[in-house]
Amino acid sequence: MLKGIWHAVITAAVIAGAPMAATAQSGGTIKIGVLHSLSGTMAISETTLKDTILMMVDDLNKKGGLLGKKVEAVVVDPASNWPLFAEKARDLLSKEKVAAVFGCWTSVSRKSVLPVFEELNGLLFYPVQYEGEESSKNVFYTGAAPNQQAIPAVEYLMDNEGGAAKRCVLEGTDYVYPRTPNKILEAFLKSKGVAPEDIKINYTPFGHSDWQTEVAAIKSFASAGKKTAVVSTINGDANVPFYKELANAGIKASDIPVVAFSVGEEELAGIDTKNLVGHLAAWNYFQSVKNPTNEAFIKQWHDFIKNPKRVTNDPMEAHYIGFKMWEQAVRQAGTTDVDAVRQAMYGQKVKAPSGFVAVMNTNHHLSKPVMIGEIQANGQFDIVWQTKEAIKADAWSPYLPEDKGKIADWTYPWVCGNCTAPKYTD
């Protein structure tokens, strides 16, 4: 009887105390937000990233948490709906009071949440390779900028080892991301002496499913007497029918290599790769990299997801780096206060699964290695080329005339993401 009363009292106390603990935030947990689509078109890619962050949080809590507190991930589902991304971001920052947000995949979604993060002074870790041309005080870009993916990939294709391509087809999905790298690549190719008639740029709609015309066009473009390569910025679901058509039309990698910027291990899992061996992808990380950090990363992932067949990929590695850096910065700052953490982020180093040390630069982008991988019959990539050292990301491309002289540097005296003169002068 007495025991029953005690139970009631304790339960009442807990119920009364719960909202207080949540709002006070110092009650023993640090909250972080996870803003990835778990339904809709982008769920295909983003669900894995949500799981990656949950894995990192789980691991951190097992090791005793951060600043003596447990870390709690608040997962929301923006459902591949761009305006909903902004709404959910506002919820996370103003209602849940999260210390940092890990999220977004498409550039549209990032552009949609950007004003919210700047208005409420939040912290976003964005893990996907993107078009560059941006450096916000409130975003850390842990994916590749064009000079860490597109340019080295094309340099490889034009190199003797990559087949000495003299003509290029830039095949992309029609939206924000492919247009900018293609603009940069076009300028880059021209600067390397490639004639304008040797560059063909073609765009197809999102989810394009009938690739017969495009593949035939690539074939005929390639029969003009010069070695031809295809640079693909085709996004998401459109890749499977593209590669199926490519394989069945008999385009061999040794004749016309295709290098993709949006196809990783996760995407290959949905394609029969037997006839695609030799086509390429450029990333900063491949699952097939051999080093102890990567082995531990893969094991941790398999243990967490309880499925030894699941693959790891580049954006997952970017989240791994981003999370570790945030963790280190919070420890260094001794607080989760956004401004203090941001200052502590600059120069943070993390031993990445790629086998290199990733460094956060003052332009809010990383220094990472660039790797070119060839598709193998087992759905993995063989690394055929990689940079000797980590490459520093350019937020603004030196190949675009409109970017001339633009600097992104958030330390004194510049303190800006897009300016041609320092903010402070003596």
């Binding site: 778990l38 339904s39 809709g40 078109t41 769920a43 295909i44 669900t47 894995t48 003797n160 080892e161 990559g162 087949g163 029609d174 073609n202 765009y203 197809t204 709609p205 989810g207 394009h208 499913s209 009938d210 017969q212 015309t213 495009e214 035939a216 066009a217 074939k219 005929s220 029969s223 003009a224 007497g225 679901d237 499977v240 029918p241 199926k244 058509e245 394989a247 069945n248 039309a249 008999g250 061999k252 990698a253 040794s254 004749d255 290599p257 996760e266 995407e267 899992a269 949905g270 394609i271 029969d272 006839n275 061996v277 030799g278 390429l280 060839e374 193998q376 019959a377 063989d382 055929v384």
Partner: protein, 554 residues
């Protein structure tokens, strides 16, 4: 005669002895040479093999070319294995060929036991190396006993013309019995003469090549024309040849566009036939139609996985034969369930039906996402649907698309038979034309409604199996096709199968002729605008229903 001079008899004897020794020496030398030659070659083979495994990509390329020149039959197996990623290096430095079941030592051609492929390291290749390997295999297999290999080698020689090819090809042509292979070899010989031949030979080659229709030959001639050492007369001949090839290639391109259009049309048709029944015949605005297609594609995936898990590997190519009826039955069951539980309460209220079926589509999508996960699932083409063939150069017909065209026509034919020749078809038409009268005649209209909806859904499921062969299998599969399906049905004329057929094919063909000119995005917009204008003029589509039904609906 001097004292030291031997007698003739002795001299004869001596001479013959010397001769004999010489012959003996010579013959033993030859014997030695015969014995040593393969030994030396074997050594070279082994050392090249180790170059393959140990050098950088550039060293590997040299070794590949040298292996091709060696003329050693064993090199074919090694190079093929290298190209396919089956050449492995064991931790103790041996180089072995691995196939699915066992490991072989390529030097002695004996099986190796006591080690598995997993313990060894795969020898890596890149695209440049792959090109070199293809060239080397081509030279080695030009004299192979397998006709398919010889044909492949002859065609391959066209893509890698080199200065030492003419001699090799001439020898191969002399030995060749098969006319088709000889023709391919002759074509490659002409091409290689462009690279290495006298001026007269080059001129003859250019003129002969002008009669061919193949982008690869156009490519070679382009290169030849642009080469700095091509003089005026040759250049003129090349121009003439190129012009005639160009003309014929243009025709080929037209034929290819037509095929692409028919192929796209057949895909649209397959996706739309089911809707032509649920929307066209029954008048249900079925937004969950795309999800029925998606369920069919997942049924194909499940069948493939079952075949992989439980049946011998040789049977996997047959999984589609099971997938088609399974997909039909499963989606038909889901369709009947949907009709009985939701749609039958909403007949005559199109807007509510639209919203309800849209909700159902979201539920189905998320259900599949929860069961199978959101990433794409891999559905492989069976071997008989992989690849394609070139009826003429520069025009590839892929087997999967051809199969889908045929499958689509079969489905349409069977459906027309069901509608026009069975009592179920008769009842169905009766119910849709005049429900009250049909009921009076003793037709159980509710049962017919459920079965009709099930039939439409089942056909959508079969379409899903076909679409899994050319595209994604993901929870979003349906959303890609739903808009196009409605477009086809509305354009073709609601309630008319013939209209759906003509609508789908014309949309496909127009799309494919517009796309190369206007680009995929603009092409789509143009088609959409054209359809809107068309519907303004003829609101009932291409084939409007005439007679009593039309009056009843009006």
């Amino acid at each position: 005669m001097g004292a030291g001079t031997p007698s003739p008899a002795v001299r004869d004897g001596l001479q013959s002895a010397v001769k004999r020794v010489r012959v003996l020496l010579l013959s033993s030398l030859t014997l030695l040479a015969i014995a040593v030659a393969p030994l030396a070659r074997a050594d070279e083979f082994a050392s090249l093999l180790s170059d393959l495994a140990n050098g950088g990509f550039a060293d590997k390329e040299k070794a590949v070319i040298a292996l091709g020149r060696l003329g050693d039959e064993r090199a074919v197996a090694v190079l093929t294995a290298l190209k396919d990623g089956r050449l492995i290096k064991t931790p103790d430095g041996r180089i072995l060929v691995s196939d699915a079941v066992r490991l072989t030592d390529p030097i002695s051609s004996t099986a190796v036991s006591g080690i598995t492929a997993d313990e060894a390291e795969r020898i890596r290749v890149n695209n440049r190396l792959r090109g070199a390997i293809e060239g080397a295999i081509g030279e080695l297999t030009l004299f192979s006993s397998d006709p398919a290999a010889r044909l492949a080698a002859a065609q391959d020689a066209l893509r890698h013309p080199s200065a030492d090819q003419p001699a090799l090809l001439e020898k191969a042509i002399a030995a060749e019995q098969d006319a088709a292979i000889r023709a391919a070899m002759q074509q490659s010989l002409l091409a290689s003469r462009l690279v290495a031949g006298s001026k007269a030979e080059k001129l003859a080659a250019v003129r002969a090549l002008g009669d061919k229709t193949d982008p690869q030959i156009k490519n070679l001639l382009d290169q030849f024309r642009a080469a700095p050492d091509t003089d005026g007369e040759l250049r003129q001949a090349a121009d003439a040849a190129l012009a005639s090839i160009q003309n014929r290639l243009r025709l080929v391109r037209l034929a290819a566009s037509l095929f692409e259009g028919v192929s796209l049309g057949s895909v649209l048709l397959l996706a739309a036939i089911g809707l032509a029944i649920t929307f066209g015949v029954m008048g249900v605005i079925n937004m969950a139609h795309g999800e029925m297609i998606m369920l069919g594609a997942y049924a194909a995936y499940v069948c493939q996985q079952l075949f992989r898990a439980f049946l011998p590997p040789g049977w996997i190519d047959g999984y589609l034969l099971l997938a088609v009826p399974v997909a039909f039955m499963f989606t038909a069951a889901v369709g009947i369930l949907l009709e009985r539980s939701v749609i039958r309460f909403l007949y005559g209220r199109p807007l509510e039906t639209l919203l309800a079926t849209w909700g159902v589509s979201l539920i189905l999508q998320q259900a599949v996402r929860s069961i199978f996960g959101s990433p794409n699932r891999e559905v492989a083409n069976p071997a008989w649907m992989t690849g394609g063939f070139d009826p003429v150069g520069g025009f590839t017909i892929t087997w999967n698309r051809l199969t889908i065209i045929v499958f689509c026509l079969i489905v349409l034919g069977v459906l027309a038979l069901i509608l026009n020749r069975t009592s179920f078809g008769l009842h169905m038409r009766a119910v849709t034309q005049n429900r009250a009268m049909a009921s009076v005649m003793g037709i159980r209209s509710a049962r017919i409604d459920a079965l009709t909806f099930g039939l439409g859904s089942g056909i959508a499921g079969m379409a899903g199996v076909a679409l899994s062969q050319i595209g994604n299998v993901s929870p979003n599969l349906g959303t890609i096709y739903i808009v196009d399906s409605f477009l086809v049905v509305v354009f073709g004329g609601v309630g008319n199968l013939m209209g759906t057929l003509v609508g789908a094919l014309s949309l496909g063909i127009v799309n494919k002729f517009l796309e190369p000119v206007a680009g995929a995005i603009l092409g789509k917009i143009v088609v959409l605008v054209a359809i809107i204008l068309f519907i303004q003029r003829r609101p009932r589509g291409l084939f409007a229903l005439k007679g009593r039904t039309a009056e009843a609906e009006a």
